[in-house]
Symmetry: C2
Subunit: 286 residues, 2 copies
Amino acid sequence: MRGWNSLTMVHVAETLAGLRASLAPWRASQRIALVPTMGALHEGHLGLVRKARELADRVVVSIFVNPAQFAPHEDLARYPRPIENDLKLLKAERVDVVYTPSEREIYPEGFTTQISMGGPALGLESDFRPHFFGGVAIVVAKLFLQVRPDLAVFGEKDYQQLLVVRRMSKDLDLDLEIVGVPTFREADGLALSSRNAYLTPEQRRIAPALNKELRDIASRARSGTALPALEAQAAASLLSAGFERVDYVAIRAPQTLERPREITGPARVLAAAWLGKTRLIDNVEI
Amino acid sequence: MRGWNSLTMVHVAETLAGLRASLAPWRASQRIALVPTMGALHEGHLGLVRKARELADRVVVSIFVNPAQFAPHEDLARYPRPIENDLKLLKAERVDVVYTPSEREIYPEGFTTQISMGGPALGLESDFRPHFFGGVAIVVAKLFLQVRPDLAVFGEKDYQQLLVVRRMSKDLDLDLEIVGVPTFREADGLALSSRNAYLTPEQRRIAPALNKELRDIASRARSGTALPALEAQAAASLLSAGFERVDYVAIRAPQTLERPREITGPARVLAAAWLGKTRLIDNVEI
């Protein structure tokens, strides 16, 4: 049910009952943070764990590759699952509990409840992955309700997801703090992502162009050039750089993700583009 | 924000902050029950309150006429709202807190999260009120998350709703007990309902036929007559008795609401029918 992983000596809860038993002694007097992940941990995740450690007494990391946020044609089957290495990394970060539920623990027999959202969930990722935020919303709601943390930490790399999770938590009175952490990057600007492992050496060479184009837009956004023209130029540059396809390059209001006519206050530019079969996303502040 | 209603001296919380402040002292050591209502309280509601009082240390009754579970053409505007009388009745039952949130407290600016369900939410009521269970699910989820009760009490009169609430609570790990209470009835069998107040004396005279036909089906269900024939006969009898329209009379499995081929174990028969502009529902065990 739960116990200490023998290889790594980190406390692993595989069931909801085990998780609740682990958390019970801390519930009344200690601040509990949750870092939800799909595993295949990299320095970006570990940065979220360190932020959680900074803000809370106890840190729970969940590892669950959530089928509900993959479409049938997507990479669920090949998504990396290096669980022993993940546990070793989390042990080194002194994580208190690693929650690794089975699919049946999250979606038991007869499960039939879905969450759908408008607002920040509309457009961008939803235009290309219409199933995505429904899948994210249900699994995050369930993890929040299973763990009942005081706070949860998410990366700004999935910026639209961060806004969706914030909105859902507020709408459902989930009564926790959602902490967003700036994107961790390689030296050449590429945002850290478990999916970077799919890239060939040639694709890996091209990949930093995504962040470069976003920074370029951010620096030119107040230059007077019309925003749609800036977006189109960046998309064209990505194709020239070697990306096969650009799902979107979009300048948006930072909280609502509405399309601004011109940039007067803070803004965000977000993009998604393909290198072979690998889809990369990134965003930067304007 | 919250306080003692001056006419009735019952503790009323009008805001989520007030509600949470009221509940905080009891949270750690006392069992809290919630009875969600739309007000217009009758003996049926008070029966639910008494059951809650029996099972818990503290009883919270919410009164919120939930717009999300009414379609535009339905009776939201004319739904009865006798709040002072409701408070007086709840005071007499020694209810600890009456939660009377405004619409803005439940659905604040920018609210955009919806819950949709299959399973027990499919068919019957959903065929005629497709918006209904989405509206019920979101408001009940929110009330559960705002109050965080140990248990919640619902009437079996809204039998399909009871199954939907049970399923949702399990699916979302809401971690409370859902208690179903048998339907309270007038001496002539009519199920107690706030909507009975709409009935003219003539309609009120006809109304008990609904329960009578359901009991009749229940007594004949194991007689060998084909179930669709039994359902059709009951619908015809309701029309003869003076009902203008019958939405459904349906024999179903008691947990899944699936249509049985024949009755081998427990079953339920459910019906909805119209007297003028008033829609009545009822159900009985087979």
